[in-house]
C-alpha cells in the first residue's frame, strides 16, 4: 500500500506541476465558451436569408404570409411562372399555388435552388395553414382581419410553468435549463474520459517502451503500478474540476459587482415579491426581470446532487475505462497506429454513450435513457445527461446505477490487471485478442 501511495504521489505531482496542466485548466473553459458561442454565431448566420417567391392564383395567400421576425424567411409575391429564371436570380425557392380544394388534402410543391432545412419548411407550412385558417374564419364568420388579430392577441396570454411537489417543497422546473446543464455535464464527462483515459494509456506506453516497467516491477507488483497510475491521474482530474468550480463561482460572484445598483435593488424587490407577477412587470426594467428569472432558475436546481453525481460518475467512469486504456497501453509497443486499432473497442462504447446522452437529455423518461444510465459502459455519460431533470431519476434508480458502475469498474480493473501484468513485460510481436483473453484466465 505504501508503495502504491508513492506511485500515486509521483504520477500526481509530475502532472500537476506540468505547464500543460495549468494551461489546459485555464484554457479549456475558455475554449468551450468560444466553441459554444462560435457554434451559436455560425448557426445564426447560416440560417441566413431565404427569399421565397410566391405565385398565388387563389388569392388566399397573397400578402397573408408573414415574414419571419428576424427576416430570415421572406415572402415575395409574383405572377411570374418561369421557375428557373426566378431561382437563377435572387430567389431561393418558388411556390406556385394554382387552386385550393376545401376540406381535402392539398399537395403543394415548392421548387428550391438548394435544399431548405426542416425548420424553414415547417415555418412555411405553418404560415400557409394559418392563411387558410384566416381565410375560412373571415368567410364563415364574416370577421375582418383586424378583428381576428385582436382576438388572437387577447386570447394568447397563457404561459405555462412546470412545478413539482407541494407546499415548501414546491419547485419550479425550467426544462430548457435542465436540458442544457445535463448536456453540458455529459459532454464534460465525455471529453475528460477521453483525455484522462488517453493519459493513462500514454503513461503505460512510456513505461513500457523505456523499459522502466522492468525496473519498477522488480520492486512493486504490476497491479500496484497500474493502480498507482490510474489513481494518480484520476486525482489530477479531480483537482482540475475543483479548480474549475472555484473559477466559475469566482467569476459569477465578480459578475455580481458589475450589475448597476438600481437594477440589483429591483431584482431584490422582485425576489421578495415571490417572483415576477403579471401586471407588476411594468414597474421593473427588463434587465432586472431577466436577472431575477435567471437566478430563480439556477436556484431551482439541486446543485448538491448534480455536483456530487458529477464527481461520482467522473471517478466511476474514469476507473471503468482507464483500466482498459492501461491494458491497451501495456500490450502495444511504441506504435501509435497499433494503439489506435486496439483502442477502438474502448472508444466505441464511449461515443455510443454520448449519442444516447444527447437523446436522453431531451427525453429523460424514455427506456433508452433508463437502460443507458444503468449499464456501466454508458451510465457515466448518460446519467449526467438526465440527473438535472426533475423527477427523472429516483433514488433507487441512482443507487442501482451506481452499484452497477462500481461492480463494472471492479470487473474491468480485474480483467485489465491480468492483461497488463503479462503485456507490460512482453516485447516484440503484438498479441492477438485470443492470447489476451487467455491471459485473463492465467495464474501468475
Amino acid at each position: 500500500m505504501n508503495k502504491t501511495w508513492l506511485i500515486i504521489k509521483r504520477e500526481y505531482s509530475t502532472r500537476v506541476r506540468n505547464k500543460t496542466f495549468l494551461l489546459s485548466t485555464f484554457l479549456l473553459p475558455l475554449v468551450m465558451v468560444l466553441f459554444v458561442a462560435g457554434s451559436i454565431f455560425i448557426s445564426a448566420k447560416n440560417s441566413g436569408k431565404n427569399k421565397i417567391a410566391v405565385n398565388d392564383e387563389t388569392g388566399i395567400f397573397k400578402n397573408n404570409l408573414a415574414d419571419k421576425s428576424d427576416k430570415s424567411i421572406v415572402f415575395i409575391y409574383t405572377a411570374d411562372t418561369s421557375v428557373n429564371k426566378l431561382l437563377d436570380s435572387s430567389f431561393d425557392a418558388y411556390i406556385h399555388i394554382k387552386a385550393i380544394k376545401n376540406n381535402l388534402n392539398n399537395d403543394i410543391t415548392i421548387d428550391v435552388k438548394k435544399q431548405l432545412n426542416s425548420r424553414t419548411e415547417d415555418y412555411i407550412r405553418t404560415q400557409m395553414n394559418m392563411a387558410m385558417e384566416n381565410k375560412m374564419l373571415e368567410d364563415n364568420f364574416s370577421m375582418s382581419r383586424p378583428q381576428l388579430d385582436s382576438i388572437r392577441n387577447s386570447a394568447r396570454t397563457i404561459s405555462l410553468q412546470q412545478t413539482k411537489g407541494e407546499g415548501k417543497n414546491k419547485q419550479q422546473i425550467y426544462s430548457g435549463l435542465t436540458y442544457g446543464i445535463g448536456f453540458f455535464c455529459g459532454i464534460l464527462i465525455y471529453i475528460t474520459m477521453f483525455i484522462y483515459g488517453a493519459a493513462v494509456m500514454r503513461g503505460v506506453m512510456e513505461e513500457k517502451t523505456n523499459r522502466i516497467a522492468e525496473v519498477m516491477i522488480s520492486s512493486v507488483k504490476p497491479f500496484q503500478l497500474m493502480l498507482g497510475k490510474i489513481v494518480g491521474i484520476g486525482a489530477v482530474g479531480l483537482t482540475q474540476f475543483l479548480l474549475w468550480i472555484i473559477l466559475i463561482t469566482g467569476l459569477a460572484t465578480t459578475a455580481h459587482f458589475f450589475i448597476p445598483n438600481d437594477i440589483m435593488q429591483q431584482v431584490q424587490q422582485i425576489q421578495s415579491n415571490g417572483g415576477i407577477q403579471t401586471g407588476s412587470s411594468a414597474q421593473f426594467s427588463e434587465a432586472a426581470q431577466n436577472i431575477a428569472q435567471a437566478t430563480d432558475a439556477l436556484h431551482s436546481l439541486n446543485w448538491t446532487k448534480i455536483i456530487a453525481c458529477f464527481i461520482f460518475y467522473f471517478l466511476g467512469g474514469f476507473l471503468f475505462y482507464s483500466s482498459l486504456f492501461a491494458a491497451v497501453g501495456s500490450v502495444v509497443s511504441d506504435d501509435a497506429q497499433e494503439a489506435q486499432s486496439l483502442m477502438l473497442p474502448i472508444t466505441m462504447p464511449i461515443i455510443f454513450a454520448f449519442i444516447i446522452m444527447a437523446q436522453a437529455a431531451q427525453n429523460p423518461g424514455t427506456p433508452l435513457a433508463f437502460w443507458g444510465s444503468i449499464i456501466p459502459f454508458t451510465s457515466p455519460i448518460v446519467m449526467m445527461g438526465i440527473v438535472p431533470a426533475a423527477g427523472a431519476v429516483s433514488w433507487w434508480h441512482l443507487a442501482l446505477s451506481m452499484a452497477c458502475l462500481i461492480a463494472g469498474f471492479l470487473a474491468t480493473t480485474w480483467i485489465a490487471a491480468k492483461i497488463y501484468r503479462t503485456g507490460i513485460l512482453l516485447y516484440g510481436k503484438k498479441p492477438t485478442w485470443k492470447e489476451m483473453i487467455k491471459w485473463t484466465f492465467k495464474k501468475p
Partner: protein
C-alpha cells in the same frame, strides 16, 4: 557459502518451454556471467530471480533461505540493459523515488543518494532532467539507483 541456489527451475509459457530444469549455484562475492543464444531463457530466468515471474516448479534459495519475492526484493539490485528511467523526471527525484520504492525511508534514501552522488561527482546534476543526460551519465544514475539500498 552460496548467495544464490537454483534447483530444477522450470517455466512454461502456454505450451512453450522458456526455462527447462535449470540448476546452478553462485558463490558469495563472485561475478557470474550467464550466456546463451536468443530465446534460451536468460531473461525469463532473471525475471524469476528478481520475483517478476513465479517459476512453475523448482526452488530459488537466496542466502540459503527460500526466496520470498515480497520481502527479499530489497536484497536485490536489478539493472536491465536499457535506460529504465523516466525521461522527464529530475535526477534527484528519480533516485529518491526508486529508493523509496525499494523500501528505504525518506531520510535514509536522501543520505545514501547524497553519499553515492558525491562518490560519482554527480551532486550538481540533482535538478537536471534525465532526457538532458548523455548515455554514460544516465548509466551512472542507473547504477546508483541499483546499488543504493545495499543489495547482498
Amino acid at each position: 557459502m552460496n548467495i544464490l541456489e537454483l534447483h530444477h527451475l522450470k517455466k512454461y509459457f502456454s505450451s512453450q518451454k522458456a526455462v527447462d530444469d535449470i540448476s546452478l549455484e553462485i558463490k558469495r562475492g563472485s561475478i557470474f556471467g550467464l550466456l546463451g543464444p536468443n530465446g534460451a531463457g536468460k531473461t525469463t530466468l532473471l525475471r524469476m530471480i528478481t520475483g517478476i515471474f513465479y517459476p512453475d516448479s523448482g526452488s530459488i534459495l537466496l542466502d540459503g533461505k527460500k526466496f520470498d519475492p515480497t520481502n527479499d526484493i530489497i536484497k536485490i539490485g536489478y539493472m536491465p540493459e536499457e535506460r529504465g528511467l523516466y525521461k522527464k523526471m529530475k535526477i534527484g527525484e528519480q533516485a529518491m523515488y526508486l529508493a523509496q520504492l525499494k523500501g528505504l525511508s525518506k531520510t535514509e534514501a536522501m543520505e545514501k543518494i547524497k553519499a553515492w552522488f558525491i562518490k560519482f561527482e554527480m551532486q550538481s546534476w540533482w535538478n537536471k532532467k534525465v532526457q538532458d543526460l548523455s548515455k554514460g551519465m544516465s548509466q551512472k544514475l542507473q547504477f546508483v539507483t541499483t546499488v543504493l539500498h545495499n543489495p547482498r
